[in-house]
Subunit: 368 residues, 2 copies
């Protein structure tokens, strides 16, 4: 009962801990049938017959080491059984309570996003949204849901966003980075329009798969490259959002880039500005420097945080991005979880700590 | 005769200017038949019949604005006719003499690299190498040639490198970044083996095309994204070289990354180190941190240099990379030429200037 001991000692210290936001928590279903209450019978029968084929990257399945089943911490199996992340009680005991998480953003993965059949994808995403309300936010007010959408079908995604608009349990729209086209492309514009209209930020989480090699020079050989490559894809996504004019069209739209690092942001912005100054005739729909759109519209979750030696280099990077733009995240229950008590490789002032761990998230997502 | 006036005044001041190296000069043929003296008749006939189909990126042709024909400066047309970069006399008058270029590295593009027919690609690359000797290095001792190779055929590329090994007119092997697979893959290993054996650095120039979308989330819409994307592809290339063990196998191999920026390097190295520390079991062939391989094996040309506001941010980045690792380059005659008299957005001490503009290149390529 090692887990039990760990919980007890952790809870004992929680009261004295700073309340935090965790902007990347992954809830899981115990089994696929958990979604059945919110699926029409036709889709249950469809999946029994045809399965739910999805675009696949990285060989034939998800790109995680098998030594970390479900990409998760080996101490995160719920004692009552089921996948890591599938038990609210155990998530509370292992993470929310001891780490004093006051504000937890749910980002369901494997939720139907990327499923090839567009109507099935839409149905699964919508069921996932109902499931978040019934099983998570309805049972623990600290948790907030993401509107999961079938992003490859812009109008269907927009309809799902409008369906959830106004429900304060939902605090963002969730997209993934590896899509059929870079996320600024017009097929995705209905999503941003609906999100802006609903006043919802758009969280764009690393991963997904759109059907092409994951680097600009083809398929790499190693998982290390796959992991590192998320930062590159996210650079392409941000470039696309800026260049296509998504921010120019929606001056109040907020985008949160989740789990793709942030230390690459200054170099990207510098390069974009330099290139745009010479080539701006190509994009008359942009009226400001690319870096200005990025500064005004983009937030970044911290996990996995880059860890330079010497650590002070990170301060230079954060100085460029802005302390108000970083949102603390653990990625619970995934294997590369960042522990809030040890993850920050820097000494912060008390106001900086409060901003970093809680206030920035409240400013983006609302007070909770 | 504006050009004449410009030359004269420029030459007048050249003597007082610091001698510099230019590590990215693009010589061009006046017409394709310039290579015929070094091509077997069968290939001349083959191209007359079949052309020279190449993998194509970015729509149907090269990704340059049409307002800059041949991707070049509009003042770089040789007065005697022919494409920009095709006249040694004009290159001397417009660039080498006035800018006091003591050491100019030739990087021929469109040279047969990426041509689909493997034997034709090999023949064109080899003819390009002979042409560099006859038309350029043989006529101006300041210029040094690159061994252009058909990189998609590892053994053929290695044979071409071995053919040129020992000829001091060649100072590097030239590859491009967008290839069929990331450049650390085994199909390319014969290239590194032959380069290491010959004591030649490997220059990897942005551009090329390997057959897939140029970002990890598909095709972008704008040239600005294409230009910005080179930095992302180059990150994938460097990740691949490190992770596949190219540097671990060849402890003396030098790689120069050309025309893809450098400000992204620290963030990439931090992410690679963090990921590798957790996943090193996947790559037992690596015995050191990824960042250590990068520090020991990689140099970077400057053009196009990132230009942050405030400019001092660039100093932090260069501090990480190392002042000894940057090689000045203009990209002459291309449209985004960096002028050595104005490009450096920083105040440097005199020893730093000498290192940056000349000594670093001499350390990598030899004294000239």
């Amino acid at each position: 009962m090692n887990v039990q001991i760990r919980e007890t000692s952790a809870v004992a210290t929680a009261a004295s801990r700073l309340a935090i936001a965790d902007c990347d928590i992954h809830p899981a279903t115990r089994q696929p049938s958990d979604l059945h209450p919110w699926l029409e019978r036709r889709w249950i029968e469809h999946m029994a017959t045809f399965g739910r084929p999805a675009r696949h990257g990285w060989q034939s399945g998800p790109a995680y080491p098998k030594s970390q089943p479900n990409a998760s911490r080996r101490d995160a199996w719920p004692p009552e059984g089921g996948r890591q992340g599938s038990s609210l009680a155990f998530m509370q005991a292992q993470h929310l309570d001891p780490n004093n998480v006051q504000h937890g953003i749910l980002n369901p993965l494997g939720s139907g996003q990327g499923v090839q059949n567009p109507d099935l994808s839409t149905a699964l995403c919508s069921a996932t949204n109902d499931w978040q309300l019934a099983e998570w936010t309805g049972k623990d007010a600290r948790l907030k849901a993401s509107v999961v959408v079938n992003y490859e079908d812009g109008p269907a995604a927009a309809a799902e966003i409008r369906k959830r608009a106004g429900d304060r349990n939902f605090v963002q729209v969730l997209l993934l980075t590896r899509t059929a086209e870079p996320l600024g492309a017009r097929r995705y514009w209905p999503i941003y329009e609906a999100a802006a209209e609903a006043g919802l930020p758009v969280g764009i989480h690393a991963f997904g798969y759109g059907g092409q090699p994951i680097t600009g020079s083809g398929w790499p050989s190693f998982y290390i490259e796959e992991m590192t490559g998320h930062a590159q894809t996210c650079q392409a996504v941000l470039t696309s959002l800026v260049t296509e004019g998504v921010f120019a069209r929606h001056p109040k739209l907020k985008v949160i880039l989740v789990e793709a690092g942030f230390a690459w942001a200054p170099a990207l912005a510098w390069r974009l500005d330099k290139t745009w100054k010479r080539l701006r005739a190509e994009t008359p729909h942009l009226t400001r420097l690319p870096s200005e759109y990025i500064r005004d519209h983009v937030w970044w979750t911290t996990q996995p945080m880059e860890e330079p030696e010497p650590r002070e280099h990170l301060l230079d990077t954060i100085g460029w991005i802005g302390w108000d733009r970083l949102l603390f995240a653990t990625d619970y229950p995934h294997w590369d979880f960042d522990d809030p008590t040890t993850c920050l490789p820097l000494k912060l002032s008390e106001p900086q700590r409060r901003q970093f761990f809680l206030a920035n998230a409240q400013a983006v997502y609302g007070p909770g």
